[in-house]
Amino acid sequence: MAATTMAKAINAGLRKALENDPKVLLMGEDIGKLGGVFRVTDGLQKDFGEARVIDSPLAESGIVGTAVGLAMRGFRPVVEIQFDGFVFPAFDQIVTQVAKHNARSAGRTPMPITIRIPYGGGIGAVEHHSESPEAYFAHTAGLRVISPSNPLDAFVMVQQAIACPDPVIFFEPKRRYWDKADIDESIDIASAPSPFQARVVRPGSSITVACYGPMVRTVLEAATAAAADGTDIEVIDLRTISPLDVETVAASVRRTGRLVVVHEAPVFLGLGAELAARITEQCFYSLEAPVIRVGGYHTPYPPSRLEEDYLPDLDRVLDGVDRALAF
């Protein structure tokens, strides 16, 4: 597939999963005829039937709770939460059941559930449609949390998430749904890089910037701009938020001596905190500056006319880089 959008790439990934494993089921609000509000499930109900692509009642706890039962019965449910801000009614089922079932049952009732959540801002939406709640899930043992930054990763990672025996919260950077890339649909997901590993997407020597999901493109653009000024930024696409691939970041920081972490989510107790704490511990003698965090503020996500000021952009990334270099 040439020049495929991320939304279509995920669609293709879901299709492959449905084709390859009869136990894979999709469930969510409006995922059937409508194909989801972002059309990510477009055409799947038509091709795989209502028994496998299930329009659910409007109740997120119900969606995730029934997915738990389906998983116990041997299915691999892939559920869609329509927007980031609507995952909270399902929080109890996710934290209490999905995350703990495998441990509680000593491995007898694993939860190979994928919870797809379009997340993040930048699309001019109303309240609750632009949040980045990944830290809540990453703090929860038993869950895996990943987020692709580009169409190819999205295509592969969604299949890997579904194939994973553990529950995976799959955060889709909704404002990158329309980014395009070439995709080789024949890619073998088993031999593709693990979704639980970070990737250096731009090697550099001056400083390391770690980011994930929607921020990768922003950071790459910042790196290009910085290069013109002679600052050579190494950009790491974390890809996985839990487990966190600290090693890849540490290896980079040991070379560059400086780290900036960028995410849309609020900084306070956001992923940057954990990465900062771990990198500081592991690279204490290599660090020439404290880890600088660039992210959302300790405020609710603002009305959309302010979101450009809320979200980290190229300038704020560079500002973070400057602050780190100033030490």
Binding site: V37, D55, L58, F86, P89, A125, E127, T299, P302, P303
Partner: protein, 360 residues
Amino acid sequence: MTADGGPELVQLLTPEGERVHHPEYDVDLSDEQLRGLYRDLVLVRRVDSEATALQRQGELGLWAQCIGQEAAQVGSGRALLPGDFAFPTYREHGVAWARGVQPLQLLGLFRGVTNGGWDPHEHNMALYTIVIGDQTLHAVGYAMGMQRDGSDDATICYFGDGATSQGDVNEAFVFSAVYNAPVVFFCQNNQWAISEPLERQTRIPLYRRADGFGFPGVRVDGNDVLAVLAVTSAALQAAREGQGPTLIEAFTYRMGAHTTSDDPTRYRVSADLEAWKLKDPIERLRVYLARNGWADHDYFDAIDAEAETLAIHLREGCRSMPNPEKTSMFDHVYAAPHPLVEAERAEFAAYHASFAGGEH
């Protein structure tokens, strides 16, 4: 599921504009009051269509149309007394109208200049609630507060057919029943939750949900402003008298898309829409008024002209609505000073000051 609402549907004004009688419910309105309701319906529809147009023009990020549901909203909104309190979803423009919220105040949220828009206490109407079902519990809590204040006011709580599946809505039923709270649950069954038809939420008529919780449920023709007014007034009265909650299912239809982002041609047939157009809430009242000689062409024209003026006001007001101050996002996160928010505000200000004269 009965497409026409079935025999249990309370109706006082047929789609053809005929006044019919119901054994239990009635209204006794002067012709002036009837004209007032007509005016409400027309102006609300005009606000709605103008806002839709503003969205198309890029002035709003989104709009949730209420077209087709004006009678359900105006009828119930006009049943409220000043001391009552309304809890809307995001589509209750007709209720807001009835509560005196200025139409312009509705636009801010959809334009992206605020997450709110008006003072809930000024209008006794809560802000729009986007997360489905959350507000139903707020309505019950507020009603519990009214009980404790010894007031004889009531709350009314709006939600859609889709919302009835949410745990919170059912918990609201439980709490209201247990505490006998003075709350009216007003469900606008517009047949759709985005792309999902009613059958994805229930296998029996929604008004019967109340049976399971031990309070009355009633299905009213949601396109009949008189019936809605009558049924809502009765339910509010029961609440005031200490009889606790009532569930009203206003049987209606979402004539438009779910929101301006939606494309209903993907999931529903136009025949339905055509059938429902015949049940239009405005048309039947117009016929009724005209037939009885309570309003003539001049009157209708005058209302249309008023609607046009309102539309212009809305358009101009919307276009000139200023963007919020950048730092306003740090305001009101907390009611009392909060060091982290203050520190971030200061950093933010310093950062932007560093671009002074530049693009920022």
